[in-house]
């Protein structure tokens, strides 16, 4: 299969959906003339024009709130938030309007709104340009939360988001944009929500990775293999809805689990995953449920400190070895 980057896969999903559905459009800060700060929408203005590739004012609240309004009258907006760090500027619109519009109206509102958000630390960008907000809105019913880890999933999950009738927070990790991988060319290739992927199967320990930590879990799995530990690597792909069954089945098989994400440890996505397993899979566990995440300090500017604060494959490797007692 042809290989393209995560960034190209996201653009391809947007372009294909925009070609086949005039209701789909992209709106955000510098997505047009500037080609997107991360280059994801590169060239889209040339194809679709200012009408459908809309540069907005620096007004996150209105970007998301007006995305909702457009969705309520039948459009299928894709809005981009340049850095996940800025998501809270629109916090109220996400939590109180977008998430609740359908339920509050007795299930009548359709909200086909895709909110594309960059996540993760691009390196020495300090505390306001490095955060991983995946868990910030997990407590709020009404949103779907998606964390693609590969180019194929990025394309397939984004298409499911754009074609769906519910609001989606779609988290794109900045350090994955340049990563290449095989991506189907079929225009109707989609990846359904709520289905975790078993990225590598194994029998000794389950490594659950969120977003970029899937790659790091695979690296850890390789190193673990070298010491005779056969790790299973699982990517939940969507945090809401969460495919509990696949996670539980894996843990039932391995009896050991390490959950990792780049978000801070405290109340990150791993807290919910760990709580679900502690509630529904504890009888299978031969040891503690270990969580790997950024330390609970704002992301520091210093590369040395940042490197110490962010989680990596060695943290996963060490945790897994501890669990396996070798």
């Amino acid at each position: 299969m042809r290989e393209i980057t995560y960034s190209e896969a996201i653009r391809e999903a947007m372009v294909e959906e925009m070609r086949q559905n005039p209701d789909v459009f992209l709106m955000g800060e510098d997505v047009g003339v500037f080609n997107g700060v991360w280059g994801v929408s590169n060239g889209m203005l040339a194809e679709f024009g200012h009408e459908r590739i809309r540069d907005t004012a620096i007004s996150e609240l209105n970007i998301i709130g007006s995305g909702l309004g457009a969705a309520l009258v039948g459009m299928r907006p894709i809005v981009e938030i340049m850095f996940g760090d800025f998501l809270m500027c629109a916090g109220d619109q996400i939590a109180n309007q977008v998430a609740k519009a359908r339920f509050m109206s007795g299930g009548k509102a359709n909200v086909p709104l895709t909110i594309r958000i960059t996540t993760g630390a691009p390196g020495s960008s300090a505390a306001q340009h490095s955060q991983s907000p995946e868990s910030w809105f997990m407590n709020i019913p009404g949103l779907k939360i998606v964390t693609p880890a590969s180019p194929a999933d990025a394309k397939g999950l984004l298409k499911s988001a754009i074609r769906g009738e519910d609001p989606v927070l779609f988290f794109e990790h900045k350090m994955l944009y340049a990563v290449s991988g095989p991506v189907p060319e079929d225009k109707d290739f989609t990846v359904p929500f709520g289905q975790a992927a078993i990225v590598k199967s194994g029998k000794d320990v389950t490594l659950i990775g969120v977003g970029i930590m899937v790659q790091k879990s695979l690296l850890a799995a390789e190193k673990l293999a070298a010491v005779g530990i056969d790790a299973e690597v699982i990517d939940p792909r969507t945090l809401v809805p969460l495919d509990k069954d696949t996670l539980i089945q894996s843990v039932a098989k391995t009896g050991r689990v390490v959950i990792s994400h780049e978000a801070h440890r405290r109340s990150g996505p791993g807290a919910e995953i760990a709580a679900v397993l502690a509630e529904e899979a504890i009888e299978y566990l031969d040891g503690p449920i270990l969580r790997i995440g950024a330390k609970n300090v704002p992301l520091p500017y210093s590369p040395e400190l940042e490197n110490d604060v962010l989680p990596n494959e060695n943290d996963i490797y060490d945790a897994a070895r501890r669990l396996c007692g070798k």
Binding site: F25, E51, R52, T56, A57, S59, L61, N62, I64, G65, S66, G67, L68, G69, A70, A71, L72, V73, G74, M75, P77, D92, Q93, N96, Q97, A101, R102, F103, M104, S105, G106, G107, K108, A109, N110, P141, G142, K144, G164, E165, D166, P192, F193, G194, V240, P241, L242, D243, K244
Partner: protein, 338 residues
């Protein structure tokens, strides 16, 4: 401040049907509020009520200047807007009573009533929360080249929220067909406007966004009707938004039970003398287009309609508890979401 046309002009400018409907709907709004308050006391309605008694002209004058395809976003004080836009008191009362056939199947209550089939995108519990929504709806209309406008209702207090500023700015840039309709009733909950807003006329805020701001007598239903019509025409010509500030007043507390320590009886009284319904009634009678009998008949029909609404609500089923989890998502991915 824009005021309504002279009585002499009524005949050539308006159909009797329109004049009668303006009167009927304002009466319906007022009686709906009073009845809802009564039913709340009586226990039929479990939730809070923010009544718009005294503000009937802004709601009805605006909505009757719109067509069915136009949309509105409303507020916590939204009953007038909803009835104005064609909301059925039956389903509204049923919603206030938290019943299954209510507009939101009992999920939303007064603060969240919506009916997408008649352009009501929703009341709102968040001050200023619906303004970007109206702006986005207008964006949709513009992109689809539909001859429709969106009206964002909000209060004087809401004009101090960031949501208003961001939405108005973007609407100005894109010349969106949206009308920012500010009901300036001089108070925001318990805080008088002069204590939280450094200007008296909010309409001047429109200048910050490059579109016109007009001040209208919010207790003159035809004055409101005219400024909204003008704003809609402007929007449909592609010239962009209009900010309308309607000076009005709410007679009752912010919500039922509000002791109203923040304002004087004199102030309330002075506004009652400018009552939108009384004033319009007097003009209609002077105009000779409608007589007492006509107006009493309308009044009677309204009372009848509300009796029916209340008994409909009282006899309607309550939502089934088994359905508590329904309606959060379009699909639940085989129940995975919960």
């Amino acid at each position: 401040m824009q005021t309504g046309p002279d009585i002499k002009e009524y005949k050539e400018r308006y159909s009797i049907e329109l004049l009668a409907e303006l009167y009927r709907r304002m009466t319906l709004v007022r009686e709906f509020e009073l009845r809802a308050i009564e039913e709340r006391r009586g226990g039929l309605i479990p939730g809070f009520i923010h009544s718009c008694v005294g503000q009937e002209a802004t709601a009805v004058g605006t909505c009757l200047a719109l067509s069915a395809e136009d949309v509105i976003t409303s507020t916590h004080r939204g009953h007038g807007h909803l009835i104005g836009k064609g909301g059925d008191p039956k389903y509204m009362m049923a919603e206030l009573a938290a019943r299954s056939p209510g507009y939101c199947n009992g999920r939303g209550g007064s603060l969240h009533i919506a009916d997408f089939t008649i352009g009501i995108l929703g009341a709102n519990g968040i001050v200023g929360g619906g303004i970007p929504m109206a702006t986005g709806a207008a964006l949709g209309f513009q992109m689809r080249k539909e001859a429709r406008v969106a009206v964002a209702f909000f209060g004087d207090g809401a004009s101090n929220e960031g949501s208003f500023h961001e939405a108005a700015n973007q609407a100005g840039v894109w010349k969106l067909p949206v009308i920012f309709f500010c009901e300036n009733n001089l108070d925001g909950e318990g805080t008088a406007i002069h204590r939280c807003t450094p200007i008296e006329d909010l309409a001047i805020r429109a200048e910050s966004y490059g579109f016109p701001g007009v001040i209208v007598d919010g207790n003159d239903v035809l004055a409101v009707y005219e400024v909204v019509k003008t704003a809609k025409e402007r929007a449909l010509r592609g010239e962009g938004p209009t900010f309308i500030e309607a000076k009005t007043y709410r007679y009752r507390g912010h919500y039922e039970g509000d002791p109203q320590v923040y304002r004087t009886q004199e102030e309330i009284q002075s506004w009652k003398e400018k009552d939108p319904i009384d004033r319009f009634k007097a003009k209609l009678l002077d105009s000779g287009l409608l007589d007492d009998a006509d107006l009493e008949e309308l009044q009677g029909s309204v009372i009848l309609q509300l009796d029916e609404a209340v008994s409909f609500a009282a006899n309607a089923d309550k939502p089934a508890v088994e359905d508590a989890l329904v309606g959060v998502y379009a699909d639940t991915h085989n129940g995975l979401v919960f």
